[in-house]
Amino acid sequence: MSQDVAEHDDTTDRAPARRSSRGLTSIEALALLLVFGLTARPGLAALFANELAQAWVARFVAVMVQATPFLVGGTVLSAAIAAFVPADFFSRAVPKRTALAVPVAGLSGAVLPGCECASVPVAGALVRRGVAPAAAFTFMLASPAINPVVVVSTFVAFPGQPEMVAARFTASLCAAIAIGWLWAKLGRTEWLRLPAHRHHEDGKWAAFWSGVRHDFIQAGGYLVIGAAIAATLNTLVPETWLAVVADDPVLGVLALAVLAVLVSICSESDAFVAASLTQFSPTAKLAFMVVGPFVDIKLAAMHAGTFGRGFAARFTPAVFAVALCAAVVMGVVWL
């Protein structure tokens, strides 16, 4: 605790120096950009007057407008849980026996909404507080993949296809539990390196607002990348090219699974991107939605930061393989 306080003082002291030495701060850069944007508006309009550019922007903005409310809902709920639910609640709720704790942790992911960006630090906190790592990892994977916000957004993104929602839920839950059991059997604690936990000193509400802001900005930034890729695939890539990949059952699934890893979209909004990839098979879309919340570039970086690089190097490929298998099996059986 005293260490926390010391670190705090340290950052407060350093901050003004850092600010003045930087030259242009981000708020000034932003102000300049805004002034530029407003004065250059006729030029911008001319730049985007091209019909192709208009179509690209329309599809890009469409994904953002549709997905942002779900992202806001997810970050508000997960920040509320992180700020207001006592940390020892989870270690009391999870059974002691690992074999049993894993499925319980997986199912509790269905009840507790958490953005994947939030669930990684939550899992770190769980391990630190004595929950079996296998159960914590299952929770970390299941919670962003099958929580109520994700289920609703998938339902909205695929109107009239409840089987897609069911397939996503089942495939994600099974894969999360499989990973938990796999860790219980093969995992070694020496792969884990957990940094010390830091507290919020300003109370629960400050933690809540700061959590919403941080999670939304972080996830929103990645959503922008995902929306841009979806808009590009739908406007710039000719339909006939995409059809070659999309019509091949194996290539289509692999392509979307890899895309999910690359674009790092938040689970609350990835269903909308998946739904907009109209050329691909339902199984390929399912693979996109099952793999995405489990493993992507952003999450791999967060795993390495929270649990250590040795862990991430083993965990990430294993999770990718298990998630892809679960999606393919579920796609073949149900879709």
Binding site: A58, F60, A62, R198, A206, W209, I217, A301
Partner: protein, 238 residues
């Protein structure tokens, strides 16, 4: 990105969403029900922006910056959130129209597994139908339920080479997945139709069918009685 700058970005994004809803432009991108999602999201984002700027103004901003071990409380990806702001507020594109419809294959295949084609009412003349409904009845039910009725269709004009066609964008979730349904004119289409002009077509079922060159799906035709120019509807998607 610093905290106060983050507040400005959140304010712009939330304000942009609220503006879309207030002006009704959100219908260019999402379905009408999204009103109830976009408006609260915009308000929450503005509230987060307000709290953030208040805390930052009080000088507590830097004090609890290092919440996460790798210090990504000043995320660089935050700059990317300016892209949708520029898209929504400065570029503000219209609903997708003939340009995209010409480059995209017709979406009639989505209706292939439809089970029932209810009889059309006898006491309505002409019977208004959506383009997708007409196309599905014409292609997959061989027009059985269409015969003996005058049909009224509303859509915009696109050109397939020199040939004018009637089209409407179908949206499953949001405009990113918009795909057109296309219907050909069998005789009597005025020659001076502009692309993107919205029209109301009254006519009867024609057994003629063409193929969309882009995806090889069937394009049904309608035998035209009259074509009237109309103004574009608030919600151009279906």
């Amino acid at each position: 990105m610093r905290r106060d700058a983050q507040a400005v970005v959140l304010l712009l994004l939330g304000g942009g969403l609220i503006r879309l809803v207030v002006t009704g432009d959100y219908l260019n991108y999402v379905k009408p029900y999204a009103f109830w999602l976009v408006l609260p999201a915009g308000i929450i984002l503005v509230a987060v922006a307000a709290v953030t700027s208040w805390e930052s103004w009080k000088g507590r901003g830097e004090a609890h910056g290092e919440c996460h071990p790798d210090g990504h409380d000043r995320p660089k990806v935050a700059w990317l959130l300016l892209a949708p702001v520029v898209g929504m507020l400065l570029v503000a594109p219209d609903a997708l129209g003939s340009f995209e419809a010409q480059r995209t294959g017709t979406a009639v295949g989505a209706e292939e597994n439809r089970s029932t084609y209810p009889e059309l009412p006898d006491d309505v003349d002409p019977v208004p139908l959506t383009l997708l409904d007409y196309a599905a009845r014409a292609v997959f039910d061989e027009g059985r339920t269409l015969e003996g009725h005058r049909i009224q269709l509303r859509g915009f004009i696109l050109y397939n080479g020199d040939e004018p066609q009637l089209a409407r964008m179908i949206v499953a979730c949001c405009a990113a997945d918009a795909r057109p349904v296309k219907i050909g004119f069998d005789g009597g289409a005025p020659a001076d139709l502009e692309p993107d002009q919205w029209v109301e077509v009254v006519g009867v079922y024609s057994p003629e069918q063409g193929r969309d060159e882009i995806n090889g799906e069937l394009v049904p035709y309608i035998e035209v009685e009259s074509v009237t120019n109309i103004s574009s509807p608030d919600n151009e998607y279906q």
